[in-house]
Amino acid sequence: MKTEALSRGIVLEKKKSEWRSYELVGFWALRLTLVLVLLILGVIVFDIVSKGAGVINWEFLTQPPRVGMTEGGIFPAIVGTFYVTMITIAFAVPLGVGAAIYLNEYAVQGKFTRLVRMSVRNLAGVPSIVFGLFGMAIFVKIFGFGPSLIAAGFTLGLLTLPVTVTASEEALRTVPKAYREGSFALGATRWQVVRTVVLPRAIPGILTGTILGLARAAGETAPILATGAAFFLPHLPDSIRSQFMALPYHLFIMSTQHHAISQVRPIAYGTALVLLALVCLLNLAAVLLRKRYRDRVAKGL
């Protein structure tokens, strides 16, 4: 009797340890999926850094392409990307922050706000090439901007709008209700509450969203294919109605459209590295900023 119970206990014990080793294998299998993600990123970054780093020097960053784009640098593409993302931000940030303020501070939560939020989420899911079609039809043709910085900037602005709205809303939500109540109780109007108490607290979060939007816009190609990006331009853009060269489009051309593809491969690698570094740095900045900001919120300061 006693021994039977004891042996059953031993069997259970054995089962348990068996389970534990199964579990260990399982956990490792799951962990490997993340290692795979790391590996993928590592291989991509390693390939581009190792083959692109040799190309990058001062001349590459500050000179225009020469000799049918087989020599020289990518300066006009860097400038073009800078200009177009500035227009993107000028378009997307005020609208995005405004919409977030409406959703979080003004609106009575109901059907209309649900509709706005649903639109934000669906806008985020619209394929980038569809934004390209839309931008071509409305900004290039109907508004008559022609292929230009402003047409491309607005198109990219629409594409980044969901990023800025979502980030701004998150930032506004972290502002404690007590601040708003305190301000209202002192006789502040709603706009005064927003301007003096809510927005100052939400600025770092909004900035994070802006940088994320910037990174997104800087890397996009499909929306600018037909709205203003140019194969090659002898001059830098001199107005918002000018066409422009852009880093992602330049990379696309140098890797698929150029007449001497293998000859310009190093330039393509250099362009890819500059673009990747730019986007990663922006994302990193946003992540760090958000982390600092969340820590501060967690501490209740």
Binding site: R180, G182, G187, T196
Partner: protein, 285 residues
């Protein structure tokens, strides 16, 4: 000191008059037949959506002095307090029936200027909620949103308000430090000073000492007794002894009803309603 206070009173009064777009217009709403009363609530019913929180509350609060509202938690006393400066407007789906007048004016008319109402009826919250700004900027917040920019006048208001809240001596050398660096009790007195800076006539206090320690509570109770010479104070408290110590009148709320309202001395020693007696003798709640 006294001089300065009078001075700033005058200047602030002037700015107030200039800022106020329609100081007299709302007077039209006044019910002439009714006697003048600081706060007068008649047959108030209040709803959160379909849930009724207040039932047929009627109350008259006279000028100056302290009125305390007591009752078990969830009895509607805080809701009632927030009716008086229309803070409940900020909660979607609330609805109100009955009449609420302050200084003889119905405050629930379509023409009521809620912003002006809240300047006249200040509020202090359960948890101290200074803004994440400097001590100075916290006090100057109200006058500034009123459009006051003059630095000297702002400094005067900050000083008199902090003195009014018995905080001046503790913070006068560090007005530019963040308000959140103060202790809990100091923060609460800062919030009182912040409310005083807007020159209200009525101060609503929603359990102002429930989140702070006994010594700081003592200071705030002393302060309330000082303030009630110049302000009408309506305080919600879960602490019966506190109500007995500091108030002139007391109202007892139970399940959304105002069970009894009267002089504090008589309500605590000689309650008329059995439920009041049960509560103050500790039989429930």
């Amino acid at each position: 000191m006294k001089m300065m206070q009078t001075n700033s009173n005058v200047t602030l009064e002037e700015t107030r008059v200039q800022e106020d777009p329609k100081p007299e217009s709302t007077k039209l709403e006044t019910d002439v037949e009714n006697e003048y009363c600081e706060v007068k609530v008649e047959n108030l019913n209040f709803f959160y959506g379909s849930v009724q929180a207040l039932f047929n509350v009627t109350i008259k609060v006279q000028e100056k002095g302290v009125a305390a509202l007591i009752g078990p938690s969830g009895c509607g006393k805080s809701t009632f307090l927030r009716v008086l400066n229309r803070m409940n407007d900020l909660i979607p789906g609330t609805r109100l029936e009955g009449k609420v007048s302050i200084h003889g004016e119905n405050i629930y008319t379509p023409n009521t200027d809620v912003v002006n109402l809240r300047k006249k009826v200040g509020m202090v919250f359960q948890h101290p909620n200074p803004f994440p700004k400097s001590i100075f900027d916290n006090i100057a917040y109200g006058p500034r949103i009123d459009g006051l920019k003059d630095k000297i006048m702002l400094s005067e208001i900050v000083e008199t308000s902090l003195q009014g809240a018995a905080l001046w001596n503790e913070v006068k050398d560090r007005l530019n430090e963040p308000a959140l660096a103060l202790s809990g009790g100091q923060q609460q007195r800062l919030c009182i000073a912040r409310a005083l800076a807007v020159k209200p006539r009525i101060l609503l206090m929603d359990e102002p000492t429930s989140a702070i320690d006994p010594i700081a509570t003592q200071k705030i109770e002393d302060l309330i007794r000082d303030l009630c010479a110049n302000y009408t104070i309506i305080i919600v408290t879960h602490n019966m002894q506190q109500a007995a110590r500091i108030s002139d009148h007391t109202g007892f709320f139970l399940q959304g009803e105002m069970v009894e309202w009267g002089k504090t001395s008589s309500l605590f020693t000689n309650p008329e309603d059995q439920r009041t007696e049960d509560y103050i003798t500790g039989r429930f709640g």
